[in-house]
Symmetry: C2
Subunit: 329 residues, 2 copies
DNA sequence: TTGTAAGCGTTATCAG
DNA sequence: CTGATAACGCTTACAA
């Protein structure tokens, strides 16, 4: 690896001049510029980013924290962040936190020591005070962390309402809900949306809501509970697609036909819901856009501090597929 | 952020002494050590990794190149690499290459400028000569790049044989194969395994092999072709689970019952094959172990060059589920 | 328009 | 056992 000094020597100029041409800043005579560029080419010189980072305290790296990339919701999000990071010249670092606060703190610390330029968090475990005196920009994605922190989310409550209203519109009379963990803001909002629609129904009891953990297995267990306690349920809204797939499995095990006897609806519009039989009716989130936007906002904050960034809330929409069907009456 | 100089000042010692304490190397009096540690705690000092990297030319970062993290095969692999990297104190960088050689080269260049310590490649597009004078360790994973390069793979040919022999054992008489792209070493080996078993069958023609692109859609299209050209096919071995899911979809569209009329078998044992109806019979790869081992070998090469690393080949095993069933006769 | 030199925060060498 | 000090490779005053 050749250094700026090698280039300077070969071009018969000082390192300052080389630096000027590399960064296209400051005056430099067209002729010497040619000489320098020639030398750079000859030596196949590339500036050492570590030295640059040391000097200016910036690394051109951003990190994304997600609970677990093995959850099919996250790869597309990660992909979007990476693509945007890339196109703006940033290196992308992926951190799986397993919803473990200690891991988050450890990652945070380690990356700060590397002069990371910013963070995007998908987290329900980090506390606002743990990041309040971090002096690099942070954006919350998918889940809010605190009202003050810039975030990119969707209108979860409205999505849930759309889902439950749709179930009603096709004739469902008893609608259960499998919600996500209580500490996840999006789960709370989806539960809220469910309640908005059914709270005045006389059949509603706490037995119609079960908590799942966003996994297929969790959805299966919750659905079993739900269906056994309330045999008259004819519609289930699960807070994400994975749990909805679990509902499908539970129904299969119990010999309940979907959608003839039970309509099922998920949330997210991720891949698993497209390979089941029947395919899942769900609420679509613009996942790629969310990731892209979050990265964009982060980079804007990095490059233009105090440029007044606003949080973003995307709309969601119902996608009807085979797991829901108007009931015969 | 305080520096080593602040610590030195507060503890009334030189920066050299502080450095010795931090790195636990060289002699330092127990008493002064206490003083220094005290000062470190008081200032909440953390060494600047960028400065360290500049000095010793190492960054404690490793990168993983995969075609696309949205393919469900890769998240588990990535997870394994990250976990191992973490446990050894390395930062993990994920790069999606889209099988695009230019992207690979660009990433390579960019990361080398950041003093990256090593690479793990899942690639069928990079050429051996493009990496031959990279002076950091490289490990190939899942796919071989060149015979000389250390790799961690599975016995694809044997896995394919197991799959096809199993189909024969349950009575399949005409077995088609959907293979992956020809430039992918694992695809070639799986095709080879398929041929090992059926090459002497008199019914075998080139119509029994279709090329897919490892996606559901690609599998669907290939299966359509296969089933229309050879209506008597009663078994299909797809080179990965995603394409096998496509086969299931094709069968559904054509009104062919699986497994009664057609047995289907995939490869990888990934999540999508577990949510279909029927669930997919497949060949299990120890995905997490592969990733973990590759990372381990890479780090070993980084920390102990010339320690004589050998390539690793894992065994695979058949997992029987609902998409295959002994034929009535 | 160009060059000199200080400094970014560490580590390691070499005296003491 | 401890302290100066010269690197690591780059950028940016400041001078010329």
């Amino acid at each position: 690896m050749s250094t700026i000094r090698d280039v300077a020597k070969l071009a018969n100029v000082s390192v300052a001049t080389v630096s000027r041409v590399i960064n296209a800043n400051g005056y430099v005579n067209e002729n010497t510029k040619q000489k320098v560029e020639e030398a750079i080419k000859q030596l196949n010189y590339r500036p050492n980013d570590v030295a640059r980072s040391l000097f200016n305290g910036r690394s051109k790296m951003i990190a994304l924290f997600v609970p677990d990339i093995q959850n099919p919701f996250f790869p597309e999000l990660a992909r979007a962040v990476e693509d945007m990071a890339n196109s703006r010249g940033y290196t992308f670092i992926l951190c799986n936190t397993d919803n473990n606060n200690q891991k988050e703190i450890d990652y945070l610390q380690a990356l700060l020591q590397k002069s990371i330029d910013g963070f995007i968090f998908v987290s329900s475990t980090i506390k606002a005070e743990q990041i309040e005196n971090i002096n690099v920009p942070i954006v919350a994605m998918d889940r809010k962390i605190s009202p003050e922190l810039v975030s990119v989310t969707v209108d979860n409550r409205d999505g849930a309402r759309q889902a439950v209203e749709y179930l009603q519109s096709i004739g469902c009379k008893r609608i259960g809900h499998i919600c996500g963990p209580e500490n996840v803001s999006s789960s709370r909002n989806r539960l809220q949306g469910y309640l908005d629609v059914v709270k005045k129904e006389d059949w509603l009891t706490s037995d119609f809501v079960q908590v799942g953990d966003h996994s297929i297995q969790g959805g299966l267990v919750a659905a079993m509970e739900l269906l056994q306690k309330n045999p008259d349920i004819d519609g289930i809204f699960a807070a994400n697609d994975l749990m909805a797939v679990g509902v499908l499995k539970a129904a299969e095990q119990l010999g309940i036909r979907v959608p003839e006897q039970l309509s099922v609806i998920g949330f997210d519009n991720t891949e698993p819901g497209k390979v089941t039989t029947p395919q899942l009716t769900t609420i679509n989130q613009p996942i790629y856009d969310i990731g892209k936007r979050a990265a964009e906002l982060l980079i804007q904050q990095i490059e233009t501090p105090d440029s007044g960034i606003e949080s973003v809330i995307y709309n969601v929409e119902l996608i009807v597929r085979g797991s829901t069907k108007p009931l015969q009456s």
